[in-house]
Structure formats: structure tokens, C-alpha cells
């Protein structure tokens, strides 16, 4: 919750000494409220002022990091309920559950599948970030052995120690030392022991309660013990409860500043029906979960989930873009058709997909228009005859293409005359307006060639 200038002013020295560079303490307070200044520049700020402002500028949902290094997962720090208000901050993480009762071979195979889960999509690297080791045996030694196996076979993955048995946590801790695991978790009976273990291990701690009220009691207790790296699990596993509870939690945290719920949410999408598990995970992605545990990460299933996560967490203000280049589609030859389009990711993917569908090998020249679609770029004066001509001339396309015919998107047919003037020797052909007409267009072109 943002503080107003007047609220901040109450905590300032009120001497108007100007040492901060502003004429009055009130002016300085207004700047602080707008986050256009830092309290550091006030030499007379009291300790009380510093801690008050510090607490107020904390994000409403605590940031939690699991794992270390460049593959560490950070979640939390969210500020809104709707992606169109402001970009969601940290994409949720996916975890594969591995039981400590699985055979060694199964544990190795599953851990390996997490380690190898990374794919690339629209220029981003997407993966399953975590492994949750489930202490099904309730045996500390067996649990520790499983955790050790997983840590060895999936070194890039963050680890969740999924047990409510403090002895199991203690036994397994050595194998994830210094690796910032998540202990999952504390309940009303074991909370003190678990908090101590979490502090000792440098781990974060999930609290598990049956419903929101139980979780609130627990987080207050944990914070009272001087520990704040908390993740919350209300135990719900059905779609309706997820939508309802996670909406209430997010609202309480960001709209009401309700600190006991100011923590990321962990959930399980487990379901015997893999399509249903995928669907539950989709609900959780959309509805504010920060960590989603899955029982299985078959590639077909996670491809969709990683795409949905990427889509929901995209910055709505900054369109996703691909690099400017002349892309070879299929086994394109020097006499293959040459088309041009813009570098908005969606445009690129759709056009590329249709060209691939056509099975006509082609060259696709993709021009940087700051990530706008064809019509938007044209309207904004970024996809003009002059600019297209310059791009084609400087692209080095004559090194790949032996002819001088350029197919332009149908929506900018109006540019063809001007483009022929600016590209002497080139023939401009107007292609279809909709990408889904490209297969017919390209096949006809090939047939009449």
C-alpha cells in the first residue's frame, strides 16, 4: 500500500534544513511518496523513520528465492490482481513431485527429466524449476537418501523438502546445504521445530493450514518467531477452492495490506487424469499461485503449461519481439519465394507457422518495427516503403536469394508502388492479408512458377 506524502511527512525532522536538496520537508516527503527520492539523502532522518519507511516500501507479497545461482527461482513481490493493470512480477515455478518410496531408478529418471526439461519459446528459456521430494515413508534416513539422489541427478533444480517431520528435515538438510531449499512444511504442531530448522538451514518455510484462517494463525506465529521467508499452502486441491482462496489471499495482501497473507502461495495440481492435472495447473497459473507442484511432467503436458505461464506473465505494455533477420523456412533455395513481415512475436509465429504449413520452402524477412503487428507498424510509420527498402538493401538477402521478387503482406498493398520506386529492379508482389491464406498463395505461386 503506497504511503501518501502527508503520512511520510509525519516521520521527517520537519526542520526544512534543505540538506536533502528539497526546499521543505513536505516537498521531500512528496518526492518520497512518488518514489522519486530516497530517505538516504536526509542526514537527520531518525531510526524510527527509516524502519517505518522501509516497511512501507516492502512489496505487499514477500519475495522468496528457492535455489541458488542463475537457475534460482524467485517468486512473490506481486502488486496487482489483473495483468492489464500492471505486469505480474515473477512467473510462477513448476515442481515435479518425487516420492522417497520410488525406486532408485525411478528417482534418477524423474530427477533427470527435470534437469532436461528446458525448452525455448519466443526467445525465452522455459523449464521445470523445482523438485519436491515427498517424505511418503516418514523415515528420515530414506528421505535423506532420496534428497541426496535428487540433488545429484538434478543439480540445476531447486529442492522442496516435502515433509511435516522435523527429523526428516534435519536428516536431509546436509544434502541441500547452502542451496536455499523450501521446507514444506510447518503445521500447528511442528511449527517451532520447523522455524528453527529453516533458520539454521537458510531455507524458506511453507506453512500448511486447512484453509485461510489456519494459515493466518501460523504465519503470525512464524513472523513472531522472527522469521519471514514464508510460503503459504491452504491445502486446497480443487479448482473452485483455488480460485476462491487464492483470489482472497491476493486481494487481502495487495488491496488491504493484510500482512499475515503477504506471502507467495504454493499449490498441488495432482490428478490421476493427466488432462485434469494440466487443467488444474492452468487454473493455478491464472489465479495467483507462485509454485505449482505436479505429479508428472510429460513433455506434451508441460509445453502447454510453460506456454500459458509465459503468456499470462508477459508484460502487457511491451510486446514480445523476435530479432530482425532473413529466416530460412524449410529447405529454401536461392529461387525460393521471399516474403517480408514485422518482428512482433505473434506475427512472426503465425506467419512462420503458415509458411511451414504450406510446405513451400521460403525466405522470411523479418523487420524490426519495435514489436508491432503489420497494420499497427504501418499506421505508426515504422513499416513504410522507405524503411522496408532500406532493410532489404542492407539485409544481405542477395546472398541467399537469386531473384528480386518481394512478397509484401496484403494489408500494406498500398505500399507496392512506392516500394518499387525505392527498390529499383525489384518486383513487388502483394501477398494475402491473412496469414492463413499463405499456404494457398505459396502453393499457387510454386505451381505457376
Amino acid at each position: 500500500m503506497a504511503l501518501s506524502g502527508v503520512e511520510i511527512f509525519k516521520h521527517l525532522p520537519k526542520t526544512n534544513c534543505k540538506k536533502c536538496g528539497f526546499p521543505t520537508c513536505l516537498a521531500f516527503a512528496m518526492k518520497l511518496a512518488a518514489k522519486q527520492a530516497s530517505l538516504d539523502v536526509c542526514p537527520d532522518a531518525s531510526e524510527e523513520a527509516k524502519s517505518f519507511l522501509g516497511a512501507a516500501s516492502e512489496p505487499p507479497i514477500r519475495g522468496i528465492t528457492i535455489g541458488v545461482g542463475d537457475k534460482a527461482l524467485k517468486v512473490g513481490e506481486e502488486t496487482v490482481l489483473f495483468r492489464h493493470e500492471k505486469k505480474f512480477v515473477h512467473p510462477c515455478g513448476f515442481a515435479l513431485a518425487i516420492k522417497d518410496t520410488d525406486s532408485d531408478a525411478e528417482i534418477d529418471a524423474k530427477a533427470k527429466s527435470v534437469e532436461e526439461s528446458e525448452i525455448e519459446r519466443v526467445g525465452q528459456h522455459l523449464r521445470v524449476e523445482l523438485v519436491s521430494v515427498l517424505n511418503m515413508s516418514n523415515d528420515p534416513a530414506k528421505f535423506a537418501a532420496a534428497v541426496a539422489r535428487v540433488a545429484a541427478a538434478a543439480p540445476s533444480a531447486g529442492i522442496i523438502l516435502a515433509t511435516e517431520n522435523p527429523a526428516s528435515v534435519e536428516a536431509a538438510m546436509t544434502h541441500v546445504s547452502g542451496k536455499k531449499p523450501l521446507i514444506c512444511g510447518a503445521n500447528a504442531e511442528n511449527v517451532e521445530a520447523m522455524v528453527n530448522l529453516a533458520k539454521y538451514a537458510g531455507a524458506s518455510l511453507a506453512v500448511r493450514g486447512d484453509g485461510i484462517d489456519a494459515v493466518v494463525e501460523l504465519t503470525e506465529k512464524v513472523v513472531g518467531m522472527g522469521f519471514k521467508d514464508i510460503v503459504i499452502d491452504t491445502g486446497c486441491r480443487k479448482a473452485k477452492d483455488m480460485v476462491e482462496q487464492y483470489t482472497q489471499i491476493r486481494r487481502a495482501a495487495v488491496k488491504k495490506g493484510f500482512k499475515p497473507l503477504g506471502f507467495p502461495v504454493i499449490t498441488c495440481a495432482f490428478n490421476d487424469d493427466p488432462y485434469m492435472e494440466q487443467a488444474l495447473a492452468s487454473v493455478a497459473i491464472a489465479k495467483y499461485a507462485s509454485i505449482i507442484v505436479l505429479s508428472d511432467i510429460s513433455k506434451w503436458k508441460t509445453l502447454a503449461l510453460m506456454s500459458l505461464r509465459q503468456n499470462i506473465y508477459t508484460d502487457p505494455q511491451v510486446p514480445m519481439q523476435v530479432g530482425q533477420n532473413v529466416y530460412k523456412v524449410g529447405d529454401a533455395k536461392p529461387d525460393s519465394p521471399l516474403m517480408i513481415t514485422t518482428n512482433f512475436s505473434l506475427t512472426y509465429f503465425i506467419v512462420l507457422g503458415e509458411v511451414e504449413n504450406s510446405k513451400v520452402p521460403s525466405w522470411l524477412a523479418v523487420m524490426d518495427v519495435e514489436g508491432l503487428s503489420v497494420l499497427t507498424a504501418w499506421a505508426a510509420g515504422k513499416f513504410t516503403a522507405a524503411k522496408i527498402a532500406q532493410f532489404i538493401q542492407e539485409s544481405g538477402v542477395e546472398n541467399s536469394v537469386s531473384h528480386k521478387e518481394l512478397v509484401i503482406p496484403g494489408y500494406v498493398a498500398v505500399l507496392s508502388g512506392a516500394l518499387e520506386d525505392k527498390l529499383p529492379g525489384w518486383k513487388i508482389t502483394v501477398g494475402p492479408r491473412e496469414a492463413n491464406a499463405l499456404p494457398a498463395f505459396l502453393k499457387n505461386k510454386a505451381a505457376s512458377a
Binding site: 485461510i212 473452485k240 492452468s282
Partner: protein, 313 residues
């Protein structure tokens, strides 16, 4: 600190639109809260799924979904009956793709005959969709409206380029309308205004914000939907209060993920499950943003979405 459930209050409501006649008529929309938040409002009707069929053999559908209907998709009447009787379809969506000038270019009269034949064979509500060729759709849907008189169908889609003819025909034959605009809240609002200015009842419209497949723009549709719904519920904006319909199968079954073989792209896993999951994930994602009616293709994807709807009730 005691936890108090943070309830929002709303000023508006999504209109409830009924399609079909008799015992099998279906009500769409009517909620006065954000999707599924029954702790602070009412959701009288859960999202409904319509099974899509076509007037011509769907030769361009990917194999995975063609295979699901291979014994029936050569005959729209057989196909419709199969969906209703064997697959439990609550609503059927007949897409007159064969009327597109670049396809079989079927005449409005032929299309109207197909509509009559299908209506004679089913008792669940029927959605009648053009081929998305604005000019041809105006003639085709006018003929279809007439053929479907008295059956209270949902006619789509009226777009800025052709809404006048379609709306007039729907008014004359007592049907409901799908109004579609291109992924823009203001365009959606404007089209609804134009339609109601013709005298068409604002509570007989459904809004199609233009759907996009997962991975191919779903977030645009998602956010346009959330903004439309917020305008309806928070500002009581009647032009934003029609229920939302998402034409999902059409966009999903064009993307690479529903077609590329596992041998071509091993990192993508099994084709059939991937394709089905692509449709169900797209549908579930958009349901979270406020979808009231979903037009889908694959029976297995539909089955999954039904299970999710049951769990959200």
C-alpha cells in the same frame, strides 16, 4: 489479526441470454461477480460448451481432431446427431465453412438447407456460424436466419463490415447475435452500440472478443475479456454486459502444436495428447477470464473442460 474475507461489491451484471427452445433451451451468462467468485455474488449459469460441426468435410482439420469424427463428419446431420446423442452436447455450433468463396462457395440456399436439415435432427440449441467472409456471410446468414425461424438460434458473427444485414435478419426471425470485433475493448463496445442503435435488444447479444490460441495471443484475448467484464460489473456498462463467447477450436487447431509429430519435435512430446491438451488449456485459461460459452472441437478436450466446470461449480 483476524482475517476478514475481502469481498468486492459490484454495480452491474452480465445479461442472461437464452438460446434454443423447449426443454433443451440453454441459458448463458447472468453472473454478477467475477468468474466463479460465488462467495461475493451469484453465478446462475456455469460456462457452456458447444460442439463444433461443419457443413462440409473438415479436410483441413489436423488429423488428431478429424479422426475423432471420421465416421460422421461427411454428413452434417449425422455429425450433429452424434454430438447430441453420443457425446452429450448441450449446444451444437454449425460452421458453414463450405460457403466461403475460396472453399466450395456453397450458395446461401444450400447453406439454408443444411441448417434446416440439422435443425430437424436435433433438439439442443444451434449456433449458426458463417465462414468468416464478411460479404458472403451477410447473405448466407440472412438465409440461415430465415430457415431457422422459431428455433431461437445464436447467429454469428456480426462484424463491423456486415452487421447491418445480419442484425436485421436476426431481428426478423427472433434469433440471438454474436458480435465480434478485433481484440479491442473499445471496438467491442462500439459494435454493440451500433447494433443496439438498429433497435436490436442489448440483451440478445453475445460478445466474441476474438479468441486466440494458447501461445499465439491468448493473453490478448484474456486481458480484453477481463477488461470487458470489469466494465460491466464495476461500471454497470450495458454495452459491455453481453455474455462472452469464445470460438476456441477454430484458432487452436491451426497451430503447429496440434500438428507437428513427436518425431519432428521430440521436445514437444506425444502429438495426440499435446493437441488435445492445447485445446483444453486454451479453454480453461479463457474460462478464468470470463468465458460464458465455448465453441470447441475435440471430444476429449471438451470432456476435460466439462470436468473443470463441474469442479468450479
Amino acid at each position: 489479526m483476524a482475517f476478514v474475507v475481502p469481498k468486492d461489491t459490484y454495480n452491474g451484471r452480465v445479461f442472461e441470454v437464452e438460446i434454443g427452445t423447449g426443454a433443451k433451451a440453454v441459458k448463458i451468462g447472468g453472473e454478477n461477480t467475477l468468474p466463479f467468485l460465488t462467495f461475493e455474488g451469484e453465478v446462475p449459469n456455469m460456462p457452456v460448451i458447444a460442439h463444433e460441426i461443419q457443413d462440409v468435410l473438415p479436410e483441413d482439420w489436423p488429423e488428431t481432431v478429424q479422426a475423432a469424427y471420421k465416421d460422421v463428419s461427411g454428413d452434417p446431420v449425422k455429425w450433429a446427431k452424434h454430438c447430441q446423442d453420443n457425446l452429450g452436447a448441450q449446444v451444437i455450433a454449425l460452421r458453414l465453412l463450405g460457403t466461403h468463396p475460396d472453399r466450395q462457395d456453397r450458395s446461401p440456399e444450400d447453406a439454408a438447407k443444411t441448417v434446416s436439415d440439422v435443425l430437424a435432427a436435433i433438439d439442443v440449441p444451434l449456433i449458426i456460424l458463417g465462414s468468416n467472409h464478411a460479404e458472403k456471410d451477410a447473405q448466407v446468414l440472412r438465409a440461415a436466419c430465415d430457415a431457422a425461424k422459431d428455433r431461437n438460434c445464436l447467429i454469428g458473427k456480426a462484424q463491423e463490415a456486415n452487421y447491418k444485414t445480419i442484425v436485421a435478419a436476426a431481428m426478423a426471425s427472433g434469433h440471438k447475435i454474436i458480435a465480434m470485433s478485433d481484440l479491442d475493448v473499445n471496438l467491442a463496445k462500439q459494435l454493440n452500440i451500433l447494433i443496439t442503435q438498429m433497435g436490436f435488444d442489448k440483451e440478445k447479444i453475445m460478445t466474441d472478443p476474438m479468441s486466440s490460441a494458447l501461445g499465439y495471443g491468448i493473453e490478448y484475448t484474456y486481458s480484453v475479456m477481463e477488461r470487458i467484464r470489469a466494465a460491466s460489473l464495476n461500471q454497470n456498462d450495458a454495452t459491455m454486459s453481453p455474455p462472452i463467447v469464445n470460438d476456441i477450436g477454430m484458432y487452436v487447431w491451426k497451430v503447429k502444436e496440434t500438428m507437428a509429430s513427436e518425431s519432428d519435435l521430440p521436445a514437444w512430446g506425444s502429438l495426440e495428447e499435446r493437441a488435445i491438451g492445447w485445446e483444453s488449456t486454451t479453454a480453461v485459461g479463457l474460462m478464468m477470464a470470463g468465458s460464458d460459452l465455448l465453441i470447441m472441437r475435440h471430444p476429449k478436450a471438451i470432456e476435460t473442460v466439462r470436468k473443470v466446470v463441474a469442479e468450479l461449480a
